[in-house]
Symmetry: none
DNA sequence: CCGGAGATCAACCATTCGGATGATGCATGG
DNA sequence: CCATGCATCATCCGAATGGTTGATCTCCGG
């Protein structure tokens, strides 16, 4: 029997997760907490768990889900499955970087969730199909690396500057700025400055 | 008995909401959908419901929750309770502007949720305590501001969409989008979409 | 009932962007 | 030494954008 702990500040989400977990014959929810602090507190004392389902974004909390993940994995060696709502690349990388065993979006099918919990309990890495696809796309397009100059340009674009303004600001010609932007769009697979900025933000490169 | 329809693209959230609703003696879930399109489809045919619990952000969907809200309220006169995760001022205004009867955050206590559903079924306006406080703060500081529609446009601009894409997304003409954008630039004192987005981000309106 | 605000749409026009192509100079690393 | 990557600049052109003016329509509050 897999003992699962739920850590999410949304009662509704906790209820939903509990329903899914308890509906599986081989797992059960043994504890619920709504803040990262409570989670650590609980682990400190009676804490026994095989898997922890953790929301990356603890509402108000001073402690982020990523930080909590790092602490838990480092201190208790309990697999952490990050289950959050919106999965941006930056979020995913942060979670995995912090040592999360898996990462799932809340809109993942319930079966996938159950499967991920089993994998996590078994010590395997469990990433949602969405996430895998995302990471794959990342690998396939490793060119996510923009040069320093390009990033400089992109930042100015994100600040709302026009090509002309950027050119003046960087002491180069407008042609150069456009050239950089063209490279950026190629690299990011975008087709407009706006889309490039949006995607770059999403990936936390700004 | 209050018939409730759940519209949310997250299976887990739906399960949680269903559990909460079905746990109340005076209400029941009669249908679940995961996209706005499905919701409208259902209402079109067999649709009978006293209250609709709607997620403002339908994941991928081309149709936003706000748009769906407008359509539902306008066409079927069914009270819509918007239940979403992150409540920004703009979200709230958009929802209310679109005709939502109530607005609740997913981290609201379950009793509050049940109460809101009853209020909505009774035709009353039901706003979560959080939201009410938020709106109050808003009134006190009317400082900046864009209409709900304008914010909706600005968000899409921030997401890198072109005017044409925005127009299609909101079911209006490009002229309207440009009109909103012009207004936005006037209000914010900016001269381009990019600058408007940058400034709006700065002020946390996104 | 009138006025104002917001949402909608239209047409026009100057400016800006994005996309394609091509070229030069300068490092760096194999 | 040379391929490669980066930064620089230019030109051309179609598409997108911004600015403006003007016009309904609806809803709300005085």
């Amino acid at each position: 029997m897999i003992d699962v702990v739920l850590a999410d500040d949304h009662p509704v989400v906790r209820t939903g997760l509990r329903a899914v977990v308890d509906d599986q014959p081989d797992m059960q929810v043994v504890h619920e907490v709504s803040t990262a602090e409570d989670l650590l507190q609980w682990l400190e004392h009676e804490g026994r768990a095989d898997v922890i389902l953790l929301d990356l974004r603890f509402g108000d909390g001073r402690m982020s889900g990523a930080t909590a993940t790092g602490t838990i994995v480092g201190r208790y060696r309990i697999p952490v499955l990050v289950v959050t709502t919106y999965g941006t690349d930056a979020d995913i990388l942060a979670a995995i970087g912090a040592g999360a065993t898996g990462y799932l979006l809340k809109d993942a099918p319930t079966e996938e969730l159950a499967r991920a919990i089993r994998s996590a309990a078994a010590g395997e890495v469990a990433l949602g199909a969405d996430v895998q696809r995302r990471l794959l796309g990342r690998v396939r397009a490793p060119a996510e690396h923009l040069s320093a100059r390009e990033l400089e340009v992109l930042r100015l674009v994100a600040a709302g500057r026009s090509n002309d303004a950027i050119a003046r600001e960087l002491f180069v010609s407008v042609a150069t700025v456009k050239s950089h932007l063209a490279h950026i769009n190629t690299r990011l697979g975008t087709t407009s400055r706006g889309a490039a900025v949006a995607l770059a933000r999403d990936r936390g490169m700004l």
